[in-house]
Symmetry: C5
Subunit: 155 residues, 5 copies
């Protein structure tokens, strides 16, 4: 049975996996969904590797980054790790990250987290169902996850 992985953290302040799993179950009925929870963002590349090694075709990671300078360095290290894993395996790893300083009010952060998680889960569904050109109709369209689209520039 085909499998897709969901890696999330206990550091996050929103249960983004709930939204992601809802979207994946709706969009990928033939797939088994395997969830793996780790402490924080720097543990996500290892979690994704374990999910790929279990046979998952793709993984979606759900990171939450604190507001301090040093948190941004952790974000950078985690991002390099997730990209390195893709470079080594060629598998699709969709990286959803919310930065705690993206919004001032908690409700807004919760909105960003849900919107970004759902939209990226739908991106992953499309890519797994339709292949390399699944997102091509929206190429250059200024799509955003976690808020309204920026839209294309009309030259």
């Amino acid at each position: 049975m085909k499998c897709v992985g969901v890696a999330d953290t206990t550091f996050a302040r929103v249960d983004m996996a709930k939204y992601v799993i809802e979207e994946l179950e709706r969009g990928l009925p033939g797939y088994k969904i395997v969830r793996h929870t780790v402490p924080g963002i720097k543990d996500l590349p290892g979690a994704a590797k374990r999910l790929l090694d279990m046979g998952c075709e793709a993984v979606i990671t759900l990171g939450w980054v604190g507001p301090k300078d040093v948190d941004k360095l952790s974000y950078l290290a985690a991002s390099v790790g997730l990209i390195m894993l893709q470079v080594l395996t060629g598998r699709i790893i969709i990286d959803v990250t919310v930065h705690e300083d993206e919004a001032e009010r908690e409700e807004e952060l919760a909105y960003i987290a849900e919107d970004r998680a759902r939209k990226h889960a739908r991106n992953l569904v499309k890519m797994l169902r339709e292949g390399l050109q699944a997102l091509t109709p929206w190429a250059g369209m200024g799509l955003r996850q976690g808020g309204p689209d920026a839209g294309p520039i009309r030259a």
Copy 2:
């Protein structure tokens, strides 16, 4: 049949692939062009890897980077990934990146994006047709993509 890959994003606000494909079709008539669209810049190294694994001889990636500090970290992580892929494979991966804060007016950004995409596509055409020294006549000439050339310094 020989193949060249074009990886672009839905985050970008200009459809740079349109210009790139136009240049590649004109310059590499014997090649199949395979396009692969992903959400954002951090997905480009994985996309390039998939295109190489499909048999593409080279890839051109079309990234668009937001204006915030954290966007610059994503740019750095993506750049490390694209370079790592080249170091591991030796394949040519031409990286076209537009930073949203390169210009203030949208028309200017659109101009930069088209100019940079076309010029780099022509660089790739030359490199694939003529090999290691294809660009040597312009070595040290201060060429720029996305604006006028800086030109060589006359010592």
Copy 3:
């Protein structure tokens, strides 16, 4: 016999391994605990690699980072290394890091170090005993190590 590794440093100003080993012995009675001490944070990825090569199933690393800008770069390099090791092996490497500038008073730093070390050791115990979903009941709950939990955002 199963084995878990503990890598720590002489640079650190708190003997965090003491707390970690206490927690591991309590939580993983069937495991041998192998400790490996190195000079500083940049030596931790190599130490973790040696512990994995000796047969350890997982490693917990205990880093201490100075307050200067250049110390933060060392933190970044060490983090990339620990993540790279996870990406290459899929093994669990729990990274406990204390930054000397997290608190002004020494007693507070000591408290942070013990709390973070113990909580992460318990995370590792749970992950080794219960597997991929061991921490899932706390996913998105805003857990923190080294201080009180931030808690989940109520949307």
Copy 4:
């Protein structure tokens, strides 16, 4: 026939390869010199990989970095790539980089570029002719390329 590679860019504003090739021809008469020109600094690690794959024993890369913050990130990514290639292969890759903001006047930049390129080419010649200790007589002597030596500190 033994071979040494020279990788340069069209972004650079000085034809540093001219000076490098002059030095290499003088110092390594038994070697074939293979030049490979790429668009910019981020393409140099891939170029160096291709030159090594062609059989070159060592490579000298000639990078030129713009003055903006984002250019410095590109410099970092390129540096990581060149170092990664050395870590994977053990081959000597001498990295000559000029930063456009090292000097205010163009003539000074041209001087830095020539001086740095020639001196590093001579370093490479020495290393290839005399091996691991070729530069040991100058160890700790505060040599600089692109300007006067800093000299050793007299303790």
Copy 5:
């Protein structure tokens, strides 16, 4: 015959290898010491790789970093490379780095360089003679190289 490598640079302004070799000869009488000098800090990971490939069991690298922002980026790239080499090989690579802006007066810099080099060489001697727990008696003791120890925090 067992071998330990010493990699240093012509950029450094103090001949740190002199002190290191003195310590290694005293502490590791059964070992052959192989020195390898390269131009600067970014060449150290490649130098260390060559020394390991020659059969050295461990390497000590002696880096000197300039005071500019861009020098710090070179430090970061070099650190990532040295760590990557350890992650790939599991070998001990002790990294001694002096930053030119650590002290204002040259005599102080010379003192830092010698102290740091000697102490780290002794660390390496201990690790090679006594194995994984050689430094454990000093774990968490706040040891410093290049100046007085910070000492442990008394909780």
